[in-house]
């Protein structure tokens, strides 16, 4: 077996190796953090759709995201209802209201979902209870999200307060989570929505939800719906509408730019760190490398030694970087009390692993030039 030269070179000086690993680990960590924040924002922005009980969504092409919607005629839903494979169509109304905290009497923007109480719009069993439906059917009664920020005030059932200067009563609670555009949400019946948002008519809806029969072919039905409806609505599958929402937040707000720049600069810093490590290593072993050359080893061999060192560093730095990141993700999620749900996923872990390998290889390639140009005659002269 060949002497594992790259390995021994790295191991030769333990302190330096530890620092080198720490350097790579923290560069990896920085990349993970930036991607994590970006991912958390995208998750918060789109998670609402995964809580909805529909496979196909209708939305106006002019709607940007769930809180900036344009309405479209409810007839579009009725047109779809007759298509084979469609089990149920459900309208969803959304809008902002100024909710008065009954204790501090301060108003705050509340995001309101208006639904037909008998429609299972959300995948929340607590909303399907007959008693909850009865509560929703009462006039001027709303359900409040338990995850609403504390600034909205107490959520006790029976409490009365004002929403956009109209008296409303809290009829119960549910757990949904606000998403990106709202830090508090309400669910109310379509009739109450009509009262709260007067003079908004109910025949124009914000989102159309289409539930399919079990086992139905989603793609085929999407095609059928598209063929049937005019161009004033977009027909999207759940995955497509989530992707649309994500793209909105990442591509057309500053957020995407900020964290992408963060990733790029962290990558460059990582490259500099690894370059420094490899360069120092080469500089202090230049005589040995020259000797190897004098003994007849090809440049290619030396090249592969440096590259091996780079890859070893990448691997050894990546592991603690990953572990630290998972720790920091948990910490960040806790510190922001769930409003920034950071979680590691396999795709990101693999992506960063490749990025780390790439980062180390780039540094390896830059620093290896010194070895390649090492001339034994010069070194020992």
């Amino acid at each position: 077996m060949r002497t594992p030269l790259a390995w021994l070179n790295l191991l030769h000086e333990r302190t330096r190796l530890t620092v080198a690993i720490a350097g790579v680990a923290f560069a990896t960590l920085l990349i993970f953090l930036n991607l994590g924040f970006l991912g958390a924002l995208a998750t918060t922005a789109s998670q609402i759709y995964s809580r909805m009980n529909a496979q196909i969504f209708l939305i106006s092409p002019q709607s940007l995201e769930i809180s900036t919607t344009e309405t479209f005629p409810q007839e579009r839903l009725y047109q779809v209802a007759g298509i084979e494979g469609v089990q149920r169509v459900m309208p969803l109304y959304v809008g902002y209201q100024q909710w008065r905290n009954p204790e501090t009497r301060r108003n705050r923007s509340m995001f309101v979902y208006g639904i037909n109480p008998r429609d299972p719009v959300f995948t929340l069993p607590e909303l399907q209870q007959p008693e909850t439906i009865a509560v929703l059917e009462r006039p001027d009664t709303v359900l409040i999200d338990r995850f609403s920020r504390p600034e909205f005030g107490p959520q006790t059932t029976g409490l009365e307060t004002e929403s956009d200067r109209r008296r409303v009563e809290i009829g119960g609670q549910y757990s949904l989570g606000g998403g990106f555009a709202a830090d508090g949400t309400l669910i109310t019946s379509d009739q109450n929505f009509r009262r709260l948002f007067d003079p908004r008519p109910l025949d124009r809806i914000d989102l159309g939800l289409i539930q399919l029969q079990p086992g139905a072919n989603v793609e085929a039905i999407v095609q059928a719906v598209r063929a049937k409806l005019p161009q004033d609505v977009l027909v999207l599958t759940q995955a497509e509408i989530i992707e649309r929402e994500r793209t909105y937040w990442i591509a057309t707000t500053s957020i995407g730019f900020i964290f992408s720049l963060g990733v790029i600069v962290s990558f460059i810093v990582g490259t500099v760190i690894v370059y420094q490590i490899l360069y120092t290593d080469i500089a202090s072993h230049i005589a040995e490398y020259a000797t190897l050359k004098a003994m007849g080893y090809r440049s290619r061999y030396l090249f592969s030694v440096v590259l091996q060192e780079a890859v070893l560093l990448a691997g050894m730095g990546y592991v603690p970087g990953l572990v630290l990141s998972i720790g920091l993700y948990t910490l960040a999620t806790k510190a922001t009390s769930g409003s920034l749900p950071m979680s590691m996923n396999l795709g990101r872990a693999i992506f960063v692993l490749f990025l780390t390998l790439f980062m180390c290889s780039v540094s390896g390639l830059i620093s290896v030039r010194k070895v390649i140009s090492a001339d034994p005659a010069e070194v020992f002269s």
Partner: protein, 387 residues
């Protein structure tokens, strides 16, 4: 007295190429800190750039309007009432509304914030706006912020498009920038045009009149104390409005964003990580240097130099590195700031105090790294090195 040999300096400059790499390392650590800090400041600064521009000493808003997002207006009479107080020189109403702007290129709509005022009132003292007052007097005209997000499309004087489903003619541009409440950008128009667009909104939205004002701007007469006037106005005006000095108003907006978003947490964490990366980088540099000059340091010790002297040398190296690395780091940051500013419309500002606080951070970073690296020197035993 003979000048001492500048050992730290000579150590560093001994190997030029290595020095360059080291400086690049420090510079990048500086860049990282500048970048994350810059993002944080930009997100906060952008929220108040419009507010700071207002030509006012005292601001009047609806009691419920605790940030620019809250669409609560107050009765214009409150402004007239305020104007009667001694010491108030002028009162200007400012109307704001969010409306859909049709991108002239793609025909897609985007919400923008419309700022409207009586053209006689010097509400926004921007030269670009003041120069185009005559044009704003024409019906259905507006000025568009040229720092708006690119999604608003391209517009030149004369561009005709739609705002809130009604034709609008762009007569020129001004420079302000985006914030969370403005969304994609700002539009300036006269109060008369504001009525044309928002007085008859149809069944889905509440229509606007000039009778309710979003922001009231009060100018104080020369010699009057704004603080005292704020107190008097707060006492004497009905409780449906809140009266603040401009500084308090700006502070209230900043406090809202600090307490209600994760901006501070996210970027402070990233800056902290960048700091640690910097410490590791500098430690690496200094440690290599110490390791390379191991024998020399041991010799110095054998000659009778105290540990404190060696500590001094390493710390001096750290200080030199921090300053020399800071300069290129700062320069590259300024470039990246303007890049970000152009790409996002955020207000990325490098101010002297931010530069200085980052310099101090850099210095601390180098000192921490230096004091860890120096332990190796202090533990040096000449007998061992030459043994």
């Amino acid at each position: 007295m003979i000048r001492r040999t500048p050992l730290a300096w000579l150590n560093l400059t001994h190997d030029r190429r290595k020095l360059l790499t080291s400086l690049a390392g420090v510079a990048f650590a500086v860049l990282l800190m500048f970048l994350f800090n810059g993002f944080k400041n930009a997100l906060y600064d952008s929220q108040v750039q419009l507010l700071q521009l207002f030509n006012a000493d005292i601001i009047l808003v609806n009691k419920q309007k605790y940030n620019m997002f809250v669409p609560e207006a107050f009765a214009r009479r409150r402004l007239y009432q305020a104007q009667t107080f001694e010491g108030i020189a002028a009162a200007y109403p400012l109307y704001t509304n969010t409306a859909n702007w049709k991108n002239p290129d793609t025909k897609l709509t985007r919400p923008v914030r419309v700022l409207a005022f009586n053209l006689q009132d010097p509400v926004l003292p921007l030269p670009a706006i003041q120069a185009q007052i005559e044009g704003l007097k024409l019906p259905d005209t507006a000025l568009v912020d040229d720092k708006s997000r690119p999604e608003l499309g391209t517009f030149t004087p004369g561009t005709i498009t739609e705002l809130s489903d009604r034709q609008v003619r762009v007569i020129g541009t001004f420079s302000l920038g985006t914030d969370f409440a403005a969304g994609n950008g700002n539009l300036v128009m006269s109060d008369q045009n504001f009525l044309r667009y928002f007085a008859n909104l149809g069944p889905e939205e509440d229509s606007r009149t000039l009778g309710t004002v979003d922001l009231g701007l009060l100018k104080v007469a020369a010699g009057a104390d704004p603080e005292v006037l704020v107190k008097t106005l707060t006492e004497r005006l009905p409780k449906d409005v809140q009266v603040m000095t401009k500084a308090e108003f700006v502070q209230q907006e900043l406090t809202y964003w600090r307490e209600n978003t994760n901006i501070g947490f996210v970027f402070t964490l990233l800056t902290g990580m960048a700091f640690i990366v910097g410490v590791i980088l500098v430690y690496q540099i200094l440690y290599t240097d110490v390791a390379d000059h191991w024998a020399e340091y041991a010799t110095l010790k054998a000659m009778g130099y105290k540990n404190i002297f060696l500590l001094g040398v390493v710390l001096q190296e750290a200080a030199i590195l921090s300053v020399l690395g800071f300069i290129p780091g700062c320069c590259v940051s300024v470039l990246l700031y303007s890049l970000t500013s152009n790409a996002t419309g955020l207000l990325m500002r490098m101010t002297p105090d931010r530069a200085i606080s980052t310099l101090i951070l850099t210095f601390m970073m180098c000192l921490i790294a230096g004091s860890i690296a120096v332990r190796k020197v202090q533990a040096t035993d000449p007998a061992e090195v030459f043994g």
